[in-house]
């Protein structure tokens, strides 16, 4: 019996262009597995953002729109309102979702748009070389915070899921991690729940995925997972913050 196979929604002979050990690959695969299991391949329109997450359109055999930086949820809102029978989701990074796109993202949740947003949080701007992002942890050294992030100069990191969960239009908000196989399985369940609330027409579904950026963190993939566990998870606590399905 075959217990693992490449999800059917992937393009044939696709190969990831992510750096070695990057958890983006796991996150995209989980999204693909859930799309397969829910049978949504033919009815899905994906909205890609700007950042490493944009490459999702090279991998998944879906109709995809590329949005301007940060505006993925604004574009997705238009798509969903024009085609309410389609399943619409965005795949974004933390810089796209919570920095340049914070207004678009939060207002999509406040309006209770019947969409799903997947946000990858790796505490940095990965594609452009590891600059300080909205989720960069206190004390974290990046190329634009060479002495480490301090509150006086840079302010504090945003806890995205907590903010999204506070919005009345949000139907599901969860934060998950990919540091262990057990947590990868929990992440898949969270993505499935966030897709489920859209299918039931309940409102905005959101999953924040704590991910690694071994290249810009200058760590081995193994050490990067230890950092997620020891430094990120105490600040960005995983869990289901809102689920109106009860």
């Amino acid at each position: 019996m075959q217990v693992f196979k490449i999800p059917e929604v992937f393009r044939e002979d696709m190969k990831y262009t992510f750096c070695p050990g990057c958890d983006h690959g796991v996150a995209v695969r989980l999204v693909a597995e859930v799309l397969d299991e829910l049978g949504l391949k033919e009815d899905t329109i994906a909205v890609a953002s700007v950042g490493c997450s944009v490459t999702i359109y090279d991998f998944l055999n879906l109709d995809t729109i590329e949005a301007p930086h940060g505006r993925a949820l604004a574009v997705a809102t238009g798509v969903k309102r024009a085609k309410p029978d389609k399943f619409v989701f965005t795949y974004q990074g933390d810089g796209d979702f919570a920095s340049i796109g914070l207004a678009e993202s939060m207002h999509s949740a406040l309006r209770g748009e019947n969409l799903t947003a997947i946000c990858i949080n790796n505490t940095t701007y990965g594609m452009t070389g590891g600059q300080l992002g909205p989720t960069t942890l206190m004390g974290q050294v990046t190329t634009t915070s060479p002495m480490g992030r301090n509150a006086e100069y840079y302010g504090y990191p945003i806890k995205i899921t907590e903010h999204v969960a506070l919005c009345d239009g949000t139907a599901y908000a969860a934060r998950v991690s990919l540091d262990t196989v057990a947590n990868i399985k929990k992440a898949k369940e969270a993505i499935k729940s966030a897709f489920d609330v859209q299918l039931k027409g309940l409102g905005f579904g959101f999953v924040e995925i704590l991910s690694t950026c071994p290249t810009n963190w200058r760590m081995t993939p193994e050490k990067a997972h230890e950092r997620v566990r020891n430094e990120m998870m105490p600040v960005f606590k995983p869990g289901v913050y809102k689920d109106i399905r009860g």
Partner: protein, 71 residues
Amino acid sequence: MKNYIVIDDTRCKACYLCVNECPRKLIKVSNKTNKLGDRIVEFDDKDGACLGCAMCATRCPDMAITEVHRG
């Protein structure tokens, strides 16, 4: 029937996450290299110890472990 995995050599980027993930330590760094010159992994299960647990495939960020068969 034996449990086994299938590794796609062209996908492996030599991050070695699977090497530590395998509970039976059946995945090893090989002498084969990918096109970037990195030593890729190989499945070495002479004694049929593979559990077919798919933890390696779940962990692999590049879907280089393309198939896991159990039983």
